[in-house]
Amino acid sequence: MAVGTQYLAEQQPKLSTTSLVLGAIAIAALIAAPFFFYPVFLMSILCFALFACAFNLLIGYVGLLSFGHAAFFGGAAYYTAHAVKVWGLEPLTGILFGAAGAAAMGLIIGFIAIRRQGIYFAMITLALSQMFAFICLQVPFTHGEDGIQGVPRGHLLGIIDLNQPLSMYYVTLAIFLFGVFAVWRIVNSPFGNILKAIRENERRAVSLGYRVDRYKLGAFVMSAALAGLAGGTKAIVFQFATLTDVQWQMSGEVILMTLLGGIGTMIGPIVGAGLVIALQNYLASSQFPVTVLIGIIFVICVLLFRRGIVGEILELMKRKPKGNV
């Protein structure tokens, strides 16, 4: 039984009119948002929301809990930062380079990790990402404890000046929307259906003739690449890449965002990321230790609402018409 099992019924293969309208409203709100909120705060949410969506692709639709996604997020941040700062690459090319680097890492880590399932998969990805964190601490190009600082934002495609907060915001928003659309497209493709079949019953998928390992590896690489897209963008937005982004705490955070919002739902991870970042922002000025709060939310989520906020709302909406019949 996979973690995402109970949510199968909630996925809709097609976009209904309601979700199209809601999506349009949400995009309009995101376009207007920088006039009401601090853009850097919003961009931080967008980066982490994309990261969480990428992570959710794996846990929500293949049933694999990766405890090492920080390696792809933080690794891509390093690659992008290095490419832009040292090689002088154009920012978008730098971000794509970061995502490609994350995808390559996903291929290696995924190849090793998919040999085991369930709980072992989580432990293996955690161990391999910790190994990557140790490597980042030692190799020269990451500059150890200092990280890569002072990454120039530069001009997008040589034209748009990203030092303008608004243009940076809209570029981030475009990357975010592209990433979310990619996840949606993957999930609702024939490939995505096979992934869900594997999640529901791996042996049956094997007996139907699918090479399960290849599908899992494919999903893993896509998830890593999208996490890398988020990490590379973050490096340009914040103009630095540090060890914080590759450590296990970051892997834990993205799990929490997805769990809190709703595993296996399209918008759950986005909601979760928004809430967690907002909370961290809010608590940064107080005395209360953030780690403790994150731990408490974890415990509450696991014990009381395993479907997450969005998952529980969807469940309520589904139940109502039944009650009337």
């Binding site: 369930g118 994150i294 731990g295």
Partner: protein, 295 residues
């Protein structure tokens, strides 16, 4: 001065000893993880935090109550075991029958709470904890000088591991435990109180971690972060050994500790990642782990 493969012999022995000590902790912790996983099907992410709590319990008992090392060796595991029993009764119990990943996530959250709270109260810096007077000083083994406390840790951990193994393999309680691992419903039908057995197992596993923590306190400093960094390595050890066998977990722990120590001598840059590399190789060659069986 004699050399072995171009390395001065004392340096080599020294690193092997350090490897043996690290291996002792890997063995004790992976043993606890294996015992808990065997019966509860929960990967106890809080194991590292419980190890840290054990060390802190010893430190706090000494600082605020003047209770020394020897009583702490019993009191700290007792305290941490009691906390673990409460956790099992009120939280973990609700997750049996669900996907085991939820147990991992719950204990991960608990680990964050413990670690964050202790970091908030005591800061991230390590606190020194002196070894007991009887175990200070060093012993001349003929080929090297060994700090007595370090020797004691290796011996004590061997006793703990063998003792736990005997408890599980040779006693009636252990027989119940093994039977419940195979088929809990049937054992319950024979009148064994399985829920109680689950609670005790989790308490015992946590107490083992705390005992390791007390043993570690004089060697490594007592710090809130000492547990989680260690537990990730122990996860790799567990993956290498496979969780099917208690003895496998113990042997893998010691062997990997010594291998890590040897890497420090011959190629120090790789010493922090060698266990993970071994894990990757084992997964490629024998996915179920060295002592594991495919489920």
């Amino acid at each position: 001065m004699s050399t072995i493969f171009g390395i001065p012999a004392p340096a080599l022995y020294g690193q092997i000893l350090i490897g043996l000590i690290n291996g002792s902790f890997y063995a004790m912790l992976s043993l606890g993880l294996a015992v808990i996983f065997g019966l509860l099907r929960v990967i106890n992410f809080a194991h590292g935090a419980q190890y840290m709590l054990g060390a802190f319990a010893a430190y706090l008992l000494l600082t605020y109550a003047g209770i020394g090392y020897w009583p702490s060796l019993f009191l700290a595991p007792l305290l941490v075991g009691a906390v673990a029993i409460v956790i099992e009764r009120f939280m973990l119990r609700r997750l049996y029958g669900l996907d085991p990943l939820y147990g991992l996530l719950l204990t991960f959250g608990l680990a964050l709470i413990f670690e964050g709270a202790f970091r908030h109260w005591f800061g991230a810096a390590g606190k020194p904890y002196a070894p007991p007077a009887q175990l200070t000083g060093a012993m001349n083994l003929g080929f090297m000088f060994m700090p007595i406390y370090r020797g004691w840790v290796v011996v004590a951990s061997l006793f703990v591991c063998i003792g736990t193994w005997l408890l599980i393999e040779k006693t009636r309680l252990g027989a119940y435990l093994r039977a419940a691992t195979e088929n809990a419903t049937l054992v319950q039908a024979f009148g064994v109180n399985v829920p109680l057995l689950l609670t005790l197992t989790y308490g015992l596993g946590a107490a083992l971690a705390a005992l390791a923590g007390v043993l570690a306190a004089p060697i490594y400093q007592v710090s809130p972060l000492m547990g989680t960094n260690l537990i990730i390595i122990v996860f790799a050890v567990v993956v290498v050994g496979g969780m099917g066998s208690i003895l496998g977990a113990i042997v893998t722990g010691y062997v990997l500790g010594v291998l890590e120590g040897l890497t420090k001598v011959f190629y120090p840059e790789a010493s922090s990642i060698v266990i993970f590399v071994i894990m990757a190789i084992v997964l490629l060659v024998r996915p179920a782990g060295l002592f594991g069986r495919e489920e």
